[in-house]
Amino acid sequence: MSEFDVKIGVEIHVQLKTKSKMFCSCKVDLKSEPNRNICPICTGQPGTLPTPNEKAVEYAVIVSRALNSKIPDFLYFSRKNYFYPDLPKGYQITQYGISTGYNGSVPVIKDKEVIYFPIERVNLEEETAKSIYVDGKVFLDYNRCGIPLLEIVTPPVFDFPDILISFLKSLRRTLIYLGVSDCNMEEGEFRVDTNISVNLKGATLDSRVEIKNLNSFSAIKESLEYEIRRQKEAILNNAVVTRETRLWDEVKKETRAMRKKEFVEDYRYFPEPDLPPFEVKKEWLTKELPLLPDYYFRELIKKGADSKEAEIIISSPFLADFTLKVLEKFSFQKVKGWILTEILQYVDDLESLRELPFSFTDFILFLENLEKGLIPRHIGQEIIRISMTEKVNISDLIKDKVEIKSASEVDKVVEEVIRENASVVEKIRAGKVSAISFLIGQTMSKLKGKANPKEVKEIIEKKLNIK
């Protein structure tokens, strides 16, 4: 049995959700008709000049901070020169030499622990146009062209696809928590290219293969597993693993080599002469960051959640925040069933959960009523079901389903029960206090359960002068 070294690295491209594009004031909106959000600047008309979007720079700095990166005092842009129809200027304005953030890390939750994986750099750049292929023709939609893009690069430090997936999920979650991107993978807002080299243990040969076209976690995992297998077999058969870019075929479940370039692309980077170097604003560095997933994770664990439960809850920044607020008033044990089972069974896409049909205060009221016994458990479940499926506010349902009797009504019924059960009252007065539960039961049944048994008990005790 030969032993292998597997080294995987990733390059991630994240579309930032700023209002306008990176270097012009066109709207960022990919749902518009093609070529609606364009101007002379983002279509590369002669004579135009770029003006950086400050919000995008701020986002890049905030992401760098959240990823524990070093941030230089001054930043500048560079040009990456190459020809492609989706690149209107013939160069992409990007960062080269100096990045917004470098030597950062991403905390990855593994069991109850948090492990840090390194980030090499965070670069801010501009998105290209979208190519649309119809009947062998290429059409270009420049709505996408010039959208701010973050390029996040890791060194090749991952040795298993699984750990890489955990890393990517953590990173993606962090970006969502920061509010800088929705990171919708299908929409291309969070794109991953992997690079992988498999070598016999001890060998230093670098046969890096890049895999592109990965738009889901399963594609990333399956393509890497396929590649590891393919490269191991090749090595065992003494075949050469070519340094190349391969595409993942989702249907055939295999990678295949992209058409080979006859030459190595030389991007002829040089500092962008249209944009002088600029200072990183202090406010970007000092502004308080939103709370990040690992904070919520730790808090949930502290409150008694296990790591699996905590991980489910933090998949949605909304739910994490909601849950922590609830946990200020109730113990995790008391609410976990309601949140994790009762509510979440009606949520299809937890990651994009941004609201519930009821407010935090309504939910607290609901839990209080449950605790008081005013809402029987099965009614509670019914309330959540209706609320979640029909998007009805929980407090309306409580009123509907649980009509709480007023104290005077309870009073009246208690007196009735006392009158009707003189013999039981006698026994209680004689010292058999436990018989009081019979009176409570009678009262509750007369009230059809719509009262708080604790209150009923108190009223009976008062009437009978017990205690």
Binding site: P40, T43, G44, Q45, P46, G47, T48, L49, P50, T51, P52, R79, N81, F83, P85, P88, K89, G90, Y91, L140, D266, Y267, R268, Y269, F270, P273, D274, L275, P276
Partner: protein, 468 residues
């Protein structure tokens, strides 16, 4: 004297209407005797009529009210085609106004047309134009200088009162000098480049031409100043120019080297003597160690930036397009047939110096040399108020004389390029004529934002010599 003020006062006095004043200018522009125009503005008379009405209403407002201005054809004027004198942009209609155009239009300027240039402003003779060479009005067998040849001619031949050109390595000053007019290369960042088709972004600067120094000041007042759309533009400082005569002026030692034609040296000597005698200035020579490297440094930086700036002309979105059986063939054919030889030479040079492995050796080194050149200039400004040199080492040369020898052609800019590399302002002014009646001009080089110092001293000199 100011031609601009004279014209505006003729409107105020009711002697003429803008559309009437325009007639003669337009006639000469249309005649295009020296091939100075590529495109005329067919709508300029409609625009003039709007001003006519304003005159009749007594609303004569704007520093350039009813003044015919020509614009180099690498600056965008909305709805007019902008060719850069290149086949690749032969039919490209400008979708917006350059910032300088917005500014002069706001002051009432009448844009008469777009002037000839070397393709993409790359050249010193205006011979590299897809629309044919322009001719020197003083001798049509000779070049008008480049690259803004058409702009200089249009002013010299009264086809326009003022013109806007661009100066990357001398492209305003050289033709100004060859055509006997004033030409200003402003401090880098003083004038917005938005809407100027880029040749070399870190060197390009829009500059005006005029027959009289006062008019140059009037148009500079209008076009200067920070523009939010150009991040390299700066707020022009509010400086009060207080000049103590005699000024201390340094004369570049190389002005008298054997590379400079004798007639130019003789006139320079004469100029210096008169100014000293009149108490306007005191002169002494200065040397610049980096002077001899300036041309090499310039061609590395300018070509590198050009190779990137011109990448957008690929046939995909606009402009000339050819081929297309494959993506590569479209790029190759479009760019091979769309660009002229000199442009391709510079794109290739620029691509080479940016190649990985060569970048440090060429581009980075050139950038370091730029810093050194600026430092040397600034050191001299500790001793001098202004620096003086010829604009060109030669008199206007014959058409075809240098076209097959690019290196000799490049040397025409030996006195002008160091200024662009340093980002300093410089002004070419007409002084005299050779025995063959060819114009001889000189240039002042100033510290950053010394434009108003130029205007002051040159008003004095203009009066003294009756120039312009």
């Amino acid at each position: 004297m100011s031609w601009v003020k004279k014209i505006i006062s003729s409107y105020k006095e009711g002697e003429k209407l803008p559309s009437e004043a325009l007639v003669d200018f337009f006639k000469r522009a249309k005649e295009n005797k020296f091939n100075s125009f590529i495109t005329l503005n067919d709508r300029v008379f409609d625009e003039a009529e709007i001003l006519d009405r304003k005159v009749k209403e007594g609303k004569i407002e704007g520093k350039l009210f009813g003044i015919p201005v020509s614009v180099k054809d690498n600056i965008l004027v909305k709805n007019l085609r902008v060719t850069c004198a290149s086949k690749i942009l032969e039919n490209y209609i400008a979708p917006y106004d350059a910032t300088v155009i917005e500014r002069i239009k706001k002051e009432g300027a009448l844009i008469i047309g777009k002037t000839n240039l070397d393709e993409f402003a790359m050249g010193s003779s205006n011979e590299y134009s897809y629309f044919g060479p322009a001719y020197n009005p003083y001798d049509t067998e000779r070049v008008p200088g480049g690259s803004s040849g058409g702009s200089a001619i249009s002013v010299a031949n009264s086809e326009a009162v003022l013109s806007l050109g661009s100066d990357t390595g001398g492209s305003v000053r050289l033709p100004a000098s060859f055509c006997n007019v004033y030409g200003l290369k402003p401090t880098y960042g003083a004038v917005s480049r938005y809407g100027l088709i880029a040749f070399a972004s870190s060197l390009d600067q829009i500059g005006p031409f005029s027959k009289y120094i006062e008019d140059l000041e009037i148009i500079f007042d209008v076009i200067k100043g920070k523009d939010e759309r150009d991040n390299t533009s700066v707020k022009y400082p509010d400086l009060k120019v207080e000049i103590k005569y005699p000024l201390k002026i340094g004369v570049l030692k190389d002005s008298f080297s054997d590379k400079v034609e004798d007639e130019i040296k003789e006139k320079l000597d004469e100029f210096i003597l008169v100014l000293e005698k009149e108490g306007i200035a005191k002169f002494s020579e200065f040397e610049m160690e980096s002077f001899e490297y300036a041309i090499a440094v310039y061609y590395i930086v300018a070509c590198a930036e050009a190779s990137s700036n011109l990448a957008r002309y690929d046939g995909v979105r606009y402009g000339f397009k050819k081929g297309g059986e494959s993506l590569l063939s479209m790029y190759e054919e479009t760019r091979t047939l769309g660009f002229g030889e000199e442009v391709k030479r510079r794109i290739l040079t620029g691509t080479f110096v940016l190649k990985s492995g060569y970048y440090e050796e060429y581009y980075l080194k050139a950038q370091k040399a730029r810093t050194k050149i600026l430092k040397e200039f600034m050191k001299n400004f500790e001793k001098f108020d202004l620096l003086l040199s010829p604009v060109s080492p030669t008199l206007p040369f014959k058409i075809g004389e240098k076209i097959n020898d690019p290196v000799t052609m490049y040397l025409s800019d030996i006195f002008t390029v160091p200024v662009n590399l340093a980002g300093l302002p410089a002004i070419a002014f007409p002084y005299s004529f050779s025995k063959n009646n060819l114009p001889i001009g000189f240039q002042f080089i100033g510290k950053f934002f010394d434009e108003y110092l130029f205007f002051s001293i040159l008003k004095k000199i203009e009066n003294l010599f009756n120039l312009g």
